[in-house]
Every structure is written in structure tokens, then in C-alpha cells.
Symmetry: C2
């Protein structure tokens, strides 16, 4: 029994969709949904507008897929951080991961999940709502992890997991804004270290 591999008749695609999506992600990351014009996107992707529409549907879907790639690539530190054995380890790993991702010298400064579309006009409302959901999902996963920590005795019984998750999320988002403003990595890391020196901040 072998997997059905029917040959797709026709001319094969002349570019790598993964790499093109990576390039598109970087443009959205740097300029936001509204600031990323189709001309700039396709130019960075190295393909024509026709090929982009054939491969990804439209600008909105391209953004959605670019966000997925962002989640599994530059933002994958969150998955790893949630596996840390203690809540303090989780919080520490999240903040250092955010700092590393938002201040990497070879990549856009800031976080695509925030500056991709924080406020927007009519044409970008769906992108904005997508990112609101993306950020809320991150918060929920952190909260759930902290709830587990309360159950395990890692956090005191009276600890408010939601409040702690909100605290870490707020710091993470604030760091992303600072990074977008050009604040350097070391300064942010020193600040994060100080913020977590008392844990939990009950």
C-alpha cells in the first residue's frame, strides 16, 4: 500500500512557496498589513502578482499564511517556553524569547503579531481582528500554563493565573513596542530580569 501520488500534469511552479512566504512575512512584519503594498510584496517575493494570486489567493490570505509561518518560525519560542518546568522559568523564557525575536539585527524590529495591524482602516480590519485573536491566544496559553502551575504547587494556591498571564503578556507586548522604537536588546533584557526578580508579583 503506497501513498497515492498522482502526477500533477502541467508546468510545475517555478518558485519555492515556502521561501516566497518567508519573504512576504518579512515585508508584513516590517511594514504592517496596510504598509505592505502588493508591489512591494511581490517584488520581495521575486514573483509576479499573477503568481502570487495563483499560489496564495489574495493579500488577506497571504497575510494569514505569513502569520502562521511567523508563529511557527520567529514566534516558536513560546511553545518551548511553555515547557519550562516552573512558572518563573516559563515567564523568563517568554520574555527573553520576545526580546531575541524583536531585536534580531537581521530581521525587522518588533513583533509582527502587534505591528502587523494594531490599528487600521476598513480594508485591514480582518487582518487586525486576526491579530487580536492571535495575541489573545498567546495570553490564553500562558494563563493555562500558570493554572497548571497553581495546581502543581509551583505557584501559591491563592495566585491569580489570569493576572500573572496578563502581566507577562503586557511586558511582552511592551517590549515589542520598545523594540520597534529602536531600544537595544541589552537594555530590554536588563529590564526583564529586574521585572521577574520578584516572582510571583503577588
Amino acid at each position: 500500500m503506497k501513498t497515492e501520488k498522482k502526477g500533477p500534469s502541467g508546468r510545475p511552479r517555478g518558485f519555492d512557496t515556502g521561501e516566497a512566504l518567508e519573504r512576504a512575512m518579512l515585508v508584513f512584519w516590517e511594514h504592517g498589513y496596510e504598509g505592505a503594498s502588493l508591489g512591494r510584496l511581490t517584488s520581495a517575493m521575486g514573483i509576479s502578482a499573477t503568481s502570487m494570486y495563483a499560489a496564495f489567493g489574495n493579500k488577506e490570505e497571504l497575510f494569514r499564511k505569513a502569520l502562521e509561518r511567523y508563529t511557527e518560525g520567529p514566534s516558536a519560542y513560546l511553545d518551548e517556553a511553555l515547557k519550562e518546568p516552573t512558572s518563573l522559568g516559563v515567564a523568563t523564557a517568554i520574555l527573553s524569547g520576545v526580546i531575541r525575536t524583536t531585536t534580531a539585527p537581521s530581521r525587522p524590529q518588533g513583533c509582527m503579531g502587534i505591528q502587523g495591524a494594531l490599528a487600521a482602516g476598513e480594508s485591514a480590519q480582518s487582518a487586525r481582528e486576526l491579530l487580536v485573536g492571535w495575541r489573545n491566544d498567546g495570553y490564553l496559553r500562558i494563563r493555562k500554563r500558570f493554572e497548571r502551575a497553581v495546581g502543581e504547587g509551583d505557584l501559591p494556591a491563592g495566585a491569580d493565573a489570569g493576572l500573572l498571564a496578563r502581566y507577562v503578556t503586557t511586558l511582552a507586548h511592551g517590549i515589542a513596542v520598545q523594540a520597534a522604537s529602536g531600544v537595544c536588546r541589552d537594555e530590554l533584557q536588563a529590564m526583564a530580569d529586574a521585572a521577574l526578580r520578584v516572582w510571583p508579583p503577588l
Copy 2:
């Protein structure tokens, strides 16, 4: 000796520039520089495009003046907060001010100084740079205030005023992002209270 008040010959302006600027500020605040089209702006201002250009120059200058109005209006809590007698009072007042401003039910959610243009395309780079300077100015004023607190003995001699200012700024910006995502006021205030329960976070 009386102030020279030469009569400006010609038809007087038919609208109140202050109120028009207030309306424009709200549009920029809600939709950002790029998301605020001229049509939407002039429609909200209640004037024609011609009148807008005659009164404010162009979109870029309109944004600059709207930001000034934002600084002196919704963002005026910072001036007051810096007058608090202690560094903890300053930090507390800043965060509660941010929360009040970014979650007011009758106004756009979030902070114009951030979502006005966090990431942007080519045409909005000047607006983006203007906001980077605006945020950095806020940071510098807080830092200077904390340096004073160190000199006064309000903060311990070894305290790093820059790091503390960065901490408060990061929380403030993070709160603004949360507010833009729809997080409610009470939750943010509870989080801010917890964040400042240990002060300074040395």
C-alpha cells in the same frame, strides 16, 4: 500700549479649527495614520478637503498637530503624574493614567502614540518617526524624574533610573496594546497594581 490686532481682511473661517482638529485626532487615534484616509478625516471634521488643506497644510502636518493635541489632552496625565512626590506615586499615576486613557468607553481603545503608526509603509515613515520620538520623549521625562528621586533619596542610591523608567514605559506600552485588543479596564488596573506592589523592582 495695546496688542496689535490687525483685522484680517477676507471671509472668515466657517468652522472651529480646534474642534476639527479634535475630530481628526480621534480618527488618527482609531485607525492610524495609514488607515485614516483623507475622505474619512474630512468627513469626520465636517469640512471639505480644500478647507483642510488651507487650514492645516497637508495630511502629515494634520497628524503632527493632532498628536500635539493628543499630548495636551488625553495624554496630559503624564505631566500630572510626574509631579507626584514619590517615584512610586509617579509610576502608579502613569499606569492608571494610561489605563484610563486607553480604555475610555467613549474614545478609541489604545494609545494614539503607538497605534498611530507603529509599523508603516513609505508614505507614513515620517509619521512613524514622529511617534518614535514621541515615545522616547516620554521615556526620557520619566527617567529624569526617577533620577531626581535617586538624588532625593526617594529611590536607593544604587537604583538605575533608566532601567526603572524602561520598566514603567514597557508596562505602559504593553497596556496600550492590551487595550487595543479589547482587554477591559479593571483587569489591567489589577495587573498594574500587582506590578507595582514591589517598588523599586531592584
